[in-house]
C-alpha cells in the first residue's frame, strides 16, 4: 500500500487566481463575492455570486486557441491544472510530447456544461439551427468536458474520469484519487473539481430558495456561515486541483511535498433518518468522518483543524453537531473550524477541491484564515465560537479534515497531515 502525498496545487477562485494570490486573499480574509447585474435582471432572489476574475491576458496565455472551444468550467480547470502541473515541478507539456502513462485525472463537476447548454445548445436547437452549433458544442456539454480537455492538453495516459456527487464532488475526487494511488493502480493523479459561473447553474438553487436574498446591497456580507443571520448560500464558480502522488514517486523525482493524504472516505445517508435529496442523514455524516479517521489511523484528539462544508444555511448547526459527535469532542473542545465559503461563496461541485487547496495552504503556511461574517455567532453552537478564527490567526496545524456534503445525501471527508 502506497503512502500518498500532495506535490502540486492549482486554484481559480472568486477571490484570487493562482496560489500566491489565493494565499494572500485567505490571509487577508478577502471576499470574492460581488453583485451580478444579470441575476437582478433575470429576477433572481439572490443578486450575489462569486465569479473568478480572469484577465484576457491570462486567458490568452493559458488557453490560446482553446478559448474558442471551452466554457467557464473547462477554462477554470485548465488554468488550475496547468498551474498545479507546474507547481508539482513537472515539465511543461508540448503538443507533440509522449503520452504520460503514469498520471491520471479525476476532475469532477456537477453542472459543468450548463452555460453552454443555456447559451448555445438549447436556444439554437429550439430555433432549428442545429447545423450551426459547430464542432465544439458536444465537447462543451458532455459531463467530462473539463477532464477531457485537461488530459488532452497534458497528454495524460492514466484514467481520465469525471465524478459527480453534487457539492461533495471535489472532496470525493481527492478521496478517489487517494485510493487509486494507495492501491498502486497509478503513480499520480490530478484530482479536483470545477464548476461554471453561470446563471443557468444557479437558477435551480435560487428557485429552491436556498440562496441568500437579504444581502443584495452588501455582497461581501452575503455568505454568513455559522452566523445567526445566515440566510442561504451564495453561489460561485471556480476550480481547485491537487497533484496526488505516491510517496515513492515523489521522492524519486525529488518533488517538493506539501502534505500527506492520510485517508478519506465517501458514503451516503440513504435519504433516511432526516436525510433527503437536500439534507444529510446525520448518521451518514458521522460514519463518513469516523471511517476517514480510521482509514487515516488518526485519533480524533489529533485533529487540529476542520475546513467545514458550512454553507451559510440552516445545515451549519447540524453539521457542527455531527462533527462533534464523530470526533467525540464537545463543542468547546473542538479543533479549529473555519468556512472558506465565507470568503468565496459556495462553489458547488468545485467547493471541496477549492477548499482543500485552502486547507493545505493554511497548514503549510501556519495560519488559519478568518471565517468572516459570523460576528453574530449562532447561539445554538455558541460554545464553538472560540474555536472559529475571526481574524487571520497563526496556528501550526498538523492534522486537518476537509468535509463536504451534497444533495443526494452524499458525504466525503479527507484527512491531511502537514509534511514536516
Amino acid at each position: 500500500m502506497n503512502r500518498v502525498v500532495i506535490t502540486g496545487l492549482g486554484i481559480v477562485a472568486p477571490n484570487a487566481v493562482g496560489l500566491e494570490a489565493f494565499r494572500l486573499a485567505l490571509c487577508e480574509g478577502r471576499s470574492g463575492l460581488g453583485f451580478v447585474p444579470q441575476m437582478k435582471e433575470l429576477d433572481f432572489g439572490c443578486h450575489v455570486a462569486g465569479i473568478p476574475q480572469i484577465s484576457d491576458q491570462t486567458a490568452a496565455a493559458y488557453l490560446g486557441p482553446l478559448l474558442k472551444t471551452t466554457n467557464s468550467s473547462m477554462r477554470y480547470a485548465l488554468i488550475a491544472s496547468v498551474d498545479c502541473w507546474r507547481d508539482a515541478g513537472l515539465p511543461p507539456p508540448q503538443s507533440d510530447s509522449d503520452v504520460d502513462w503514469s498520471t491520471a485525472a479525476i476532475i469532477g463537476s456537477s453542472l459543468g456544461g450548463l452555460d453552454t447548454a443555456g447559451e448555445l445548445v438549447v436556444p439554437e436547437t429550439n430555433a432549428g439551427r442545429v447545423r450551426k452549433l459547430g464542432s465544439s458544442a458536444i465537447e462543451r456539454v458532455m459531463a467530462s468536458c473539463a477532464t477531457a480537455c485537461v488530459s488532452g492538453l497534458l497528454g495524460l495516459g492514466g484514467q481520465a474520469a469525471t465524478n459527480s456527487s453534487a457539492c461533495g464532488t471535489g472532496t470525493e475526487a481527492i478521496v478517489n484519487a487517494y485510493w487509486m494511488i494507495r492501491e498502486d493502480r497509478i503513480d499520480r493523479v490530478l484530482a479536483g473539481s470545477t464548476e461554471p459561473s453561470s446563471v443557468y447553474a444557479w437558477a435551480g438553487l435560487d428557485s429552491l430558495r436556498v440562496t441568500m436574498r437579504k444581502s443584495n446591497d452588501q455582497p461581501q456580507a452575503a455568505s454568513r456561515p455559522l452566523s445567526a443571520s445566515a440566510g442561504g448560500l451564495v453561489p460561485a464558480g471556480g476550480a481547485g486541483i491537487l497533484m496526488l502522488e505516491s510517496l515513492a514517486c515523489a521522492q524519486s523525482r525529488r518533488a517538493r511535498i506539501y502534505a500527506e493524504v492520510l485517508g478519506g472516505h465517501s458514503n451516503g445517508g440513504g435519504q433516511r433518518n432526516g436525510g433527503s435529496i437536500t439534507a444529510s442523514n446525520p448518521e451518514g455524516v458521522v460514519r463518513c468522518v469516523k471511517r476517514s479517521l480510521e482509514a487515516a489511523k488518526i485519533n480524533p484528539s489529533e485533529v487540529d483543524y476542520i475546513n467545514g462544508h458550512l454553507t451559510g444555511t440552516a445545515g451549519d448547526t447540524k453539521e457542527i453537531r455531527c462533527l462533534s459527535a464523530a470526533l467525540g469532542r464537545s463543542l468547546a473542545e473542538m479543533p479549529w473550524v473555519n468556512s472558506t465559503k465565507s470568503l468565496i461563496g459556495h462553489g458547488l461541485a468545485a467547493s471541496g477541491s477549492m477548499e482543500s487547496v485552502a486547507t493545505v495552504l493554511q497548514m503549510v503556511h501556519g495560519f488559519l484564515h478568518p471565517s468572516i461574517n459570523c460576528e453574530d455567532f449562532h447561539p445554538e453552537i455558541a460554545e464553538l465560537a472560540p474555536r472559529v478564527p475571526r481574524v487571520s490567526t497563526p496556528v501550526p496545524c498538523r492534522v486537518a479534515l476537509k468535509t463536504s456534503f451534497g444533495f443526494g445525501d452524499v458525504n466525503s471527508c479527507v484527512v491531511f497531515r502537514r509534511w514536516d
Partner: protein, 83 residues
C-alpha cells in the same frame, strides 16, 4: 468580392485553424487537413464560418470542395457570383 479579396479573406479565416509553424507557406494547392494540419473535427467550423463570412450556403455534400485551399476559393467565387 473579387477572387483576390475572397482569397485574402479565406486565408484569414483558415489561419485560425491551421496548426503549422509558419502559416505564410499556405498555397492554393495546400490540403487543409493533410498539409495545414487542420483538426478534422474543426473542419465543420471552417464551413460555418465561411457561410457567415461570404453570406453563402454550403450543403453537406459540397464540403469536399473545401479539402484544398484553391478549390475552396473557387467554390466560394462560384457561389458568390450566383448568389
Amino acid at each position: 468580392m473579387n477572387r483576390d479579396e475572397i482569397h485574402k479573406s479565406f486565408l484569414e479565416l483558415i489561419r485560425q485553424y491551421v496548426r503549422i509553424p509558419d502559416p505564410s507557406v499556405i498555397t492554393e494547392s495546400s490540403l487543409l487537413v493533410d498539409d495545414l494540419k487542420v483538426n478534422s473535427t474543426r473542419f465543420v467550423d471552417i464551413i460555418l464560418e465561411a457561410e457567415d463570412r461570404f453570406k453563402i450556403e454550403i450543403r453537406d455534400d459540397e464540403m469536399q470542395r473545401f479539402e484544398r485551399v484553391g478549390d475552396a476559393i473557387d467554390f466560394i467565387c462560384e457561389r458568390t457570383v450566383h448568389a
